[in-house]
Amino acid sequence: MSAPAARRRRLAFGLALASLLLLCAGLAAGGEGWSPAALGELLRGPDAGLIVGQIRAPRSLGAWLAGGLLGLAGALAQGLFRNPLADPFLLGSASGASLAVVVVLAAGALGGHGPWSGVGLVAAAFMGALGGVLLTLLLARGAQHTLRLLLAGVVVGVVLSGLSDLLTLAVPEALRGRQVFMLGSTGFLGWDGCLLLGAGLALLLPLAQRLSRLLDALVLGEDSARSLGLPLPQLQLLLVGLLAAATGLAVSQTGLVAFVGLAAPHLVRRIAPGPHAYLLAASAATGAVLLLAADVAARTLIAPQELPVGVLTAVFGGAYLLWLLNRQRGA
């Protein structure tokens, strides 16, 4: 077996083992901290079904699945833009979701009337994320010019964030809810959310892998990809659609969890690089492990209080990027 293939196998084994251990830790980590003895006691008691079955299990699995979607979205974004610093939220999905959440919160604060008041926060965030990306595509007149797409994404992000700020100023009651959404949270994940995230990942990952040949070709530049006879505009549009769906699904369930989408493909490329068919799956698995690890840490670090999971991913993700920067400077 070649060395790269062996490294990939080792990474796959490591990720599977980490997922298993972290899922077990997720079942043991509760509102009062982490303890296998307390878990044993809980499992023997009458509350096992509610606390472990209805709260900890869907929360842990949901964090794993949402992290998987973010990792996949990160790999798609970095492949599409041929930029290792590309982030799943680049195309306006984060600001679109945030604006939709603020609209729903403001509608609720103003008395619960109007068309937005009946929409739940999860559905609003998903629709907002897709709306943000759609607006970016409209402004960029399609996905065939990646630079224009990127600039349109930046513009949409700034404008929609500005609108969110404006609405929050008008209805300050929405401020706290918006802040919690921006910090990310896995605390409200239930089995219904897991079902949506799982179905999304099961559908989007194979679809994305079918486009891996395009992503491999894009590494050499758009002209090279075109020379291979690939219908570039249509496939790029499809890639953007997959990216938007993966990001929108994750964001709607967990809020804006920073750095997972950015860091997961980076880690895979560092540890065991490979073609995109492999990179997409490995990034999804790495993202899943990263978010689940952050979720378990968020529950236990200051128990019985809890940290917003997005704060941990931002702190650790930022530290990782700084370390990377220093390493590259030293090299």
Binding site: I51, R56, R59, E173, R176, V180, G187, Q305, E306
Partner: protein
């Protein structure tokens, strides 16, 4: 011969009784006054205690700090980042929250009984007290609690010096500056004390104002938390506010200020604090 139909009739009756009991069980459980309450809103925590059910609280949000009995209770996060597992583990038969919070749906999905109540105006506070007292089994306590607030409000209003009535007021909620408009519970209290709010009603309960708006409105009286009042003369143009120059200021220390900005049973006390400040201002040379 006749024993078989009789036993079948008996078993049918037993089955009917069991079925009726099973069907009525949720309704009976819902009708029984809750004994284990979690409150995720400070104003509702205070309202529960005001209707005599403080001992039934088993957990509160991180901001609930009055009365003293609730300080030792488990803290379950805030309304928007409530800790679902810890709430469920407390096995509450009633969770009180504000409408729109995401935790409401999650707790309801877990089978918990969640009620959402607004706390924006005097009417909301009155409704909450009456509703909670009814729900907790003694409606008279709700009426009593609201009557106490009304009595305190009336006494506070009566104690406002005549010279202060009709004066314009700016109540700052936050330094950005956000103000309490006439539609907010604070604005309603100020109106009851005979003051005129510089904020138009159309701007909403807690609008963010331009600092220039306050300077141009030249309120007769400025009310805010003490540390914000200290900062006001340093804001561009605010030194020209006659209320600052003439010290027509109500600067509240944080504990007193908390009473003012909490929509609950202490609204009468809040009105008296405001009235006391107005009396103090009236006694000072202008």
């Amino acid at each position: 011969m006749s024993s078989q139909p009789r036993s079948s009739c008996r078993s049918r009756r037993r089955l009917g009784r069991a079925l009726t009991a099973w069907l009525l069980a949720p309704a009976l459980a819902a009708a029984a006054p809750p004994q284990r309450i979690v409150s995720l809103v400070p104003g509702l925590t205070e309202s529960v205690c005001a209707v005599g059910a403080c001992a039934r609280l088993v957990g509160v949000d991180r901001h609930s700090n009055w009365p003293a009995e609730v300080v030792a209770l488990p803290r379950l996060g805030g309304l928007d980042d409530a800790q679902v597992e810890r709430i469920a583990a407390l096995k509450p038969d009633l969770v009180l929250a504000a409408p729109g919070a995401r935790v409401v749906q999650r707790l309801q999905a877990l089978g918990l009984n969640v009620d959402t109540l607004h706390t924006r105006s005097h009417q909301d506070v009155r409704h909450n007290l009456l509703w909670l007292a009814q729900r907790l089994g003694d409606p008279a306590l709700g009426r009593k609690a609201w009557a106490a607030i009304e009595t305190q409000m009336a006494a506070a209003s009566a104690s406002v010096p005549a010279a202060m009535r009709g004066r314009s007021v700016y109540f700052e909620v936050e330094a950005s500056p956000y103000a309490a408009g006439p539609g907010s519970f604070i604005g309603q209290t100020l109106a009851q004390l005979g003051l005129r709010n510089i904020v138009p009603e159309a701007l909403g309960p807690f609008p963010k104002l331009s600092p220039e708006f306050v300077v141009r409105a030249q309120p007769d009286i400025v009310m805010a938390e003490a540390r914000q009042v200290q900062d006001m003369p340093r804001r561009p143009g605010w030194a020209s506010l006659t209320a600052l120059q003439r010290q027509q200021l109500c600067a509240f220390q944080s504990a007193d200020y908390e009473v003012l900005v909490r929509p609950g049973p202490r609204m009468g006390l809040a009105a008296q604090q405001l009235a006391d400040c107005l009396a103090r201002l009236a006694g000072e040379p202008r």
